[in-house]
Symmetry: C2
Amino acid sequence: MAEVSTRDRLIVEAMRLFCEQGYRATSVAQIEAAAGLAAGSGALYHHFKSKESLLEAGIDRQLDRRQAMRDISVLFRGVGDLRTELTLLGRYQLAVIDEERQLLGVAASTPAAQASRLNAAYGALIHGLSGDIVDLAKNWNPDLAEADAASIALVGVNALLGRRISVLLSGVESTVSDDSFLAEWTAMLACRIEAESGAADRTAS
Amino acid sequence: MAEVSTRDRLIVEAMRLFCEQGYRATSVAQIEAAAGLAAGSGALYHHFKSKESLLEAGIDRQLDRRQAMRDISVLFRGVGDLRTELTLLGRYQLAVIDEERQLLGVAASTPAAQASRLNAAYGALIHGLSGDIVDLAKNWNPDLAEADAASIALVGVNALLGRRISVLLSGVESTVSDDSFLAEWTAMLACRIEAESGAADRTAS
DNA sequence: GTCTATATAACGATAGAC
DNA sequence: GTCTATCGTTATATAGAC
């Protein structure tokens, strides 16, 4: 039961290497070696017809795992006050983004053939995360306009994404802990959610 | 005076292609063709000793341009109220990130040899943008603790970065305009800057 | 299914004519 | 400085033994 097939090992190691080095920079021989096969042997081609079809299988696998994590966010409903729920949701969404980290990393350097698939997957991710924040916001402040809730959610999601993608691009971990970051993130969103509707218009022309 | 040297054309086109396709996926022949030279001829090697030294020159060029944009943010001081200054600063910082877009794109898929240079450049960018927000925040609320100002700035910068890097990864422009995004971004930061110190601790344990 | 061996193509880089 | 031509290397992918 704990047996992992060679095919699965190839997918896992390939996505890891694609994320670290990029798709083009990762050779088939390197993937075979990482999966415990002889480097340079065509053993990989008995499981995938090409390097690109291996990437495709990796994308599909990630989308399956994403499906498994969906609709867990509703578990945070009614736990306590607005800030508690926001912090829990933020922590959950950071975990979701971590799960998608490889996919985001691979998306940065990918042949055009698979680009549309990755773009669609990325768009769906943003939409899902943003929607959860919108639901939470409107739940705690029914007077909040749909457009305002969407704006708050968009800035919130981008803040979480920016934090995770930053370390993805730089490879350097932030000096600020996730908890500290989420504390401020929570305070900012709560401050806006509690405000009356239309408050976002009080900016410079 | 409008004459652009072949060397400069090579740098510009190379960075554009590196950003779009990745470093490894871009061939020297492709760069030569984009610069108006015969594809496959070694003409590039009369200006750069290798493909990697061309990337290095591209990074140096970006760092020079960054230097030219520094210390412009102080021009926004004392324009009006907190929200006006925040919106102007946010708009300015989005422009700065746009200027660095290529460098961020190249950073996503780069050989280890140049990775440290890119990482240092990226870290300096974050630090500079964050520092400007901290200065503005403490200017409008002297009671704000240094740590709180830094937290607010970190979330703010990551929100801007997330928005720009999102379109960099997905290639799809957001349906929300920059002005609408900045309006909400401004409201969020202003809401937190105006709060008393220590308010960020009112989150879940 | 995995191996050795190899076909075929593309890439980075160099040499020399002009 | 730019070209044509080419070398050496590395990559993807295949053929056939075990």
